[in-house]
């Protein structure tokens, strides 16, 4: 309908009637394209394509490959729009446009000039989770927080904007969200005392339109104290400062380096905020609002409609930045607009995304032990709060005390690697970590641009389990239950893809692309790519043929802890080599592998 209006009404009326990226909306609706990192605005990572299906996926073959020319960790995925594939790399953040009609010939290559001094202020490798597309433009958000709009046809720069300052530890790893006439962008640097924010830029000019900080005065965090709610109750005045001691909120963390989803009917954008800094909870008394929070904000103004703080006063580095997956499902006999979120803290949350009501909060890994669960009684004083187990509380145990056996570890039961949702099965397919930790907080001092951590960590595979460091699970978000679980040797650090062909794809750190049945989890196919996979699986159709693509290139958080293998201190001192080192399985290297059925 909007397209028709565009044709008849002419450009002059555009601003009021149609937004610049109606183009993106129609591209996302066309399953032949992979026009956005998250699959769609709902972050479902689901494709209607079914040429490759549970019956024939076992015949899958490598169709073609492409070396990115960059080592280090490759997160995110390529995009495909109208038979052109856009491939990005980690720092230096090269973008290639490949002609799918011409055997992947390089149409253009864009390589930004960035000061390499940004590299060491990126907390955990130089990853980048990919470019975005809208209205004939490719949007790259570089490591040094420069946002560049490129002409999708030529690679020419249309506009540039600088979002942050790498000299004080502000960096970027995330993709951007093009929605309506805006580009919504986040920021990294929680381990450098950065105060997190989300900023909207004009899609055509790069001008800044609004910025919402995660903590600070009401005018900074863009709330209306009377109408912005937390679990149905207005947040009141100064909610972004009154749970902090002194000026600690100014270096409060709550960065925004995850994924963004949007509901165009509600005019809301959804995302989560990261850990409060430092990692030493004794240095920041209070709930530290609004770190660790699911946020729903008005797309046009940035004003918050509702918040939900999952982990008040974080004591374990359980960033809340993981994706918010939007679905329409029946719950208690009623059709509702839901938001499902698998948090680093090990809880899977199901919420009403219109009102911010909490419906389900259950552990999506049975080993999670820092909490006994969330108070679900709206009449209770502690409604919505997780009950913290004293033994695993690094706050209660205190500074300079090593709290042991905490599950999950700081990297979470799940990190940013996005889950997928199939409307056919109404199940979520979730890549997870199965790792626990010892955590000892101690006092640190803040220096701009320097790490601001304040804890010593030791991580190891979940004790008394299958010995591996990951699981790939299917989750029922209404019942709050695991339907099936596939044990993995290493953390599953790859984003999943579900398809109408009843197949779910994911990658492993050893480098396998795996296909499993969406109903049972039965493995149907595996292929070992040249390097470990921390990228996300995507699919597209070209010339009547369905393809599945994945970036290999081990690194990221996983490459830090797992490269040398992890030890289990519970096995006693000196027990080394009980767990396999990732370096025994794979080595660095950025490569795209594209699969198809044989002709």
């Amino acid at each position: 309908m909007k397209k028709l209006m565009l044709l008849t009404s002419g450009i002059a009326l555009c601003a009021g009637l149609a937004y610049a990226n109606d183009d993106l909306v129609s591209q996302m609706a066309d399953s032949k394209q992979w026009a956005i990192q998250t699959g769609d605005y709902k972050n479902q990572r689901y494709s209607e394509l079914n040429q490759i299906n549970a019956e024939n996926v076992g015949d899958l073959q490598v169709a073609w490959t492409f070396s990115t020319g960059v080592l280090r960790g490759h997160e995110g995925s390529p995009l495909v729009v109208n038979d052109v594939m856009y491939v990005h790399t980690p720092f230096p953040n090269i973008v290639y446009a490949l002609d799918l009609k011409n055997e992947g010939k390089i149409i253009w290559k864009y390589e930004p000039k960035q000061d390499p001094d940004v590299i060491p202020v990126m907390c955990c490798d130089t990853v980048n989770r990919g470019v975005a597309y809208a209205e004939g433009k490719i949007f790259l958000h570089q490591a040094d927080t420069k946002i560049v709009a490129l002409d999708a046809a030529s690679g020419d720069v249309i506009w540039e904007a600088q979002n942050g300052d790498a000299a004080i530890g502000e960096t970027n790893t995330a993709t951007v969200l093009p929605v309506k006439d805006k580009i919504i962008v986040g920021i990294s640097g929680g381990e450098f005392g950065v105060r997190g924010s989300v900023t909207a830029y004009n899609i055509n000019t790069g001008e800044r339109e609004w910025r919402a900080y995660s903590m600070g005065p009401d005018s900074d965090i863009l709330v209306n104290p009377e109408t912005t709610t937390h679990l149905g109750t207005p947040v009141g005045e100064n909610s972004g400062t009154n749970t902090w001691e002194g000026d600690q909120w100014m270096i409060g963390g709550g960065t925004t380096w995850g994924w963004y989803s949007a509901d165009m009917e509600e005019n809301l954008v959804y995302y989560g905020t990261g850990n409060p800094s430092t990692w030493n909870p004794a240095q920041r008394p209070g709930d530290n609002r609004w770190s660790m929070t699911i946020m729903a904000r008005d797309i046009d103004t940035g004003e918050a409609k509702w918040f939900y703080q999952m982990t008040p006063h974080d004591e374990w580095d359980y960033d809340g930045i993981n994706e918010m997956i939007l679905t329409e499902q029946e719950i208690d006999g009623e059709q509702r607009k839901l938001l499902t979120h698998f948090d680093r803290n090990g809880l899977g949350y199901t919420m009403d995304r219109v009102t911010g009501e909490l419906l389900v909060a259950e552990k999506f890994d049975p080993v999670v032990n820092w909490t006994t669960g969330v108070d679900m009684d709206p009449a209770s004083d502690t409604y919505g709060r997780p009950a913290v187990v004293a033994q695993y509380s690094t706050e209660q145990n205190g500074e300079d005390v090593n709290s042991t056996g905490i599950c999950p570890a700081a990297l979470g039961t799940k990190d940013q690697q996005p889950a997928a949702y199939s409307p056919k099965t109404e199940m979520f397919y979730v890549p997870t970590n199965h790792v626990c930790m010892d955590y000892e907080p101690f006092r640190v001092s803040y220096t701009a641009g320097q790490p601001y951590v304040g804890a010593t960590l030791a991580m190891y595979p979940a004790p008394d389990s299958h010995g591996g460091m990951g699981n790939f699970i299917a989750w029922d978000n209404v019942a709050g239950e695991i339907k099936w679980s596939i044990p993995e040797k290493f953390s599953v650090w790859s984003g999943a893809l579900a398809t109408a062909g009843d197949v779910v794809f994911y990658g492993t750190l050893e480098g396998h692309l795996k296909a499993v049945h969406s109903e049972t989890g039965e493995e149907l196919y595996r292929f070992k790519t040249p390097s470990g996979i921390i990228g996300n699986v995507m699919t597209y159709e070209s010339d009547g043929k369905q393809y599945v693509g994945i970036l290999s290139g081990v690194g990221g958080w996983a490459g830090i802890g797992l490269a040398a293998g992890l030890t289990n201190p519970n096995d006693g001192l000196g027990a080394v080599g009980g767990y396999a080192a990732l370096s025994d399985y794979t080595a660095l290297g950025g490569q795209l592998t594209v699969f198809a059925l044989p002709n």
Partner: protein, 156 residues
């Protein structure tokens, strides 16, 4: 292997004397002390903690290295002490077609600089394989002089 050769040419590991709970080689370079029952000196234990706060997010657990940063348990033995201090203080860049490796300078970071010798001796103990992976079990107590020096350095 240059690793052992370097260590053999000049004994950069064996403690020749101790002063206020800290240990030094004949050339006055800081080093570790590990008793027969595995008890480590306080600085080695302190180095374990500080390393896993400030260094491990790039250099991996226990100095083992990561997919993109070198194993410092090797560097601490391969490198001269004064070179080691220089790199930590001022940083180092190796940027080219195949490598994008940048070590930042920590010269203005008290959380690193006040514990630089601790981190160094911990890594040397790891490289010499006299301290296993994981948290050191037994340790000498933190004495008053070390405590005072620490407070003076941190300005607390």
């Amino acid at each position: 292997m240059p690793l052992l050769a370097t260590a053999d040419e000049v004994d950069n590991l064996t403690a020749a004397y101790s002063e206020d709970g800290k240990y030094y080689t004949e050339d006055d370079v800081p080093t570790y002390s590990v008793d027969e029952d595995g008890t480590v000196d306080w600085p080695t234990y302190s180095g374990f903690r500080r390393y896993h706060s400030e260094c491990h997010v790039c250099h991996g657990p226990e100095g083992e290295g990561s997919t993109y940063a070198p194993a410092l348990k090797v560097s601490a033995i391969d490198m001269d002490y004064y070179d080691f201090v220089d790199v930590v203080t001022n940083g180092r860049k190796r940027v080219g077609a195949a490598e994008n490796s940048v070590m930042p300078g920590f010269g203005e970071n008290p959380n690193v600089m006040c514990y630089l010798d601790d981190i160094y001796v911990y890594l040397k103990a790891r490289g010499a394989d006299v301290v296993p992976r994981g948290r050191p079990g037994k340790k000498q107590p933190k004495n008053e002089i070390i405590r005072e020096d620490e407070n003076a350095c941190l300005g607390t």
